[in-house]
Amino acid sequence: MEPSLTDVRMVVEEVWTSFLGAEDPLLPMAPGTLDVGWSAAVTVSGEWQGAVSVELPRSMAEEIARRMLGLDDEVDSVGDDDVADAVGELVNMIGGNVKSLMPGPSALSLPVVAAGRVARASDVIEACRLDASWAGAPLLVSVHVRHPEKG
């Protein structure tokens, strides 16, 4: 069983609208090249097993951290610790809400955050991907599940 693209889009849009402002909506976008500056993933283990990850360009990750912290982007710079924290919290919220849509009981991991692309286990396949753009730049949210033939 896997979450539908509609469910994942709804979850991601709710996170964006709540914490990043409704004035810059998330827009659908065709899959393309994404220069990944930051990424983060959480895993769900239990009745449903999967991983939810977010991949963002560096400038978008920094803007997300600024907005979540309520900083003035004209004045305040943001450090890597805060960017990692913000990106981790983003995937925690998306992953936690995806977990709530799937059969339980299951447990959500703490987020793993990377400058660059997070490594994935070799026995997983992509079950769902949401390509979107925000403030003119692309981002990717994806859900991976264990490959059925690799148990």
């Binding site: 709540s18 914490f19 979540m68 912290l69 913000a86 919290e89 925690n92 936690g96 809400n97 977990k99």
Partner: protein, 121 residues
């Protein structure tokens, strides 16, 4: 009143504190804790009137924090602010003695709905 905000994410603690203000709860003393263990120490040293805690945290989770508080006799009002709002998690929170569970992402209105009975008496 004094409110303890426990979350391993500094960014999320800032959002929770900002949302408290937006929900009309400015002016309360805020104490921050980085995980359940830190929160446990600060409940004892700071005697807050309310604990708002994340669920998934390193060192000590929010549900373990709540269990430890209740086992030690603390009756401090306690609510979760967590990314997991499934019926199963809400049932576990309630069984542990939590007053409410606010699911992330949240709005100031969601805060006011559950906090008004606690903070406005």
């Amino acid at each position: 009143m004094k409110i303890l905000v426990a979350d391993d994410s500094r960014v999320m603690r800032q959002i929770v504190i900002r949302t408290l203000r937006q929900a009309g709860y400015a002016g309360h003393d805020i104490v921050e804790a980085e995980n359940g263990r830190d929160a446990l120490d600060k409940v004892r040293s700071e005697s807050p009137d309310l604990v708002l805690s994340d669920w998934n945290m390193p060192e000590m989770s929010g549900i373990d924090l709540l269990a430890t508080l209740r086992q030690s006799g603390s009756t401090v009002p306690f609510g979760f602010v967590t990314s997991e709002g499934s019926p199963d998690m809400r049932a576990r929170a309630s069984a542990g003695g939590a007053l409410f569970l606010i699911a992330k992402p949240f709005t100031p209105e969601a805060f006011d709905e559950v906090l008004a009975p606690v903070l406005k008496g």
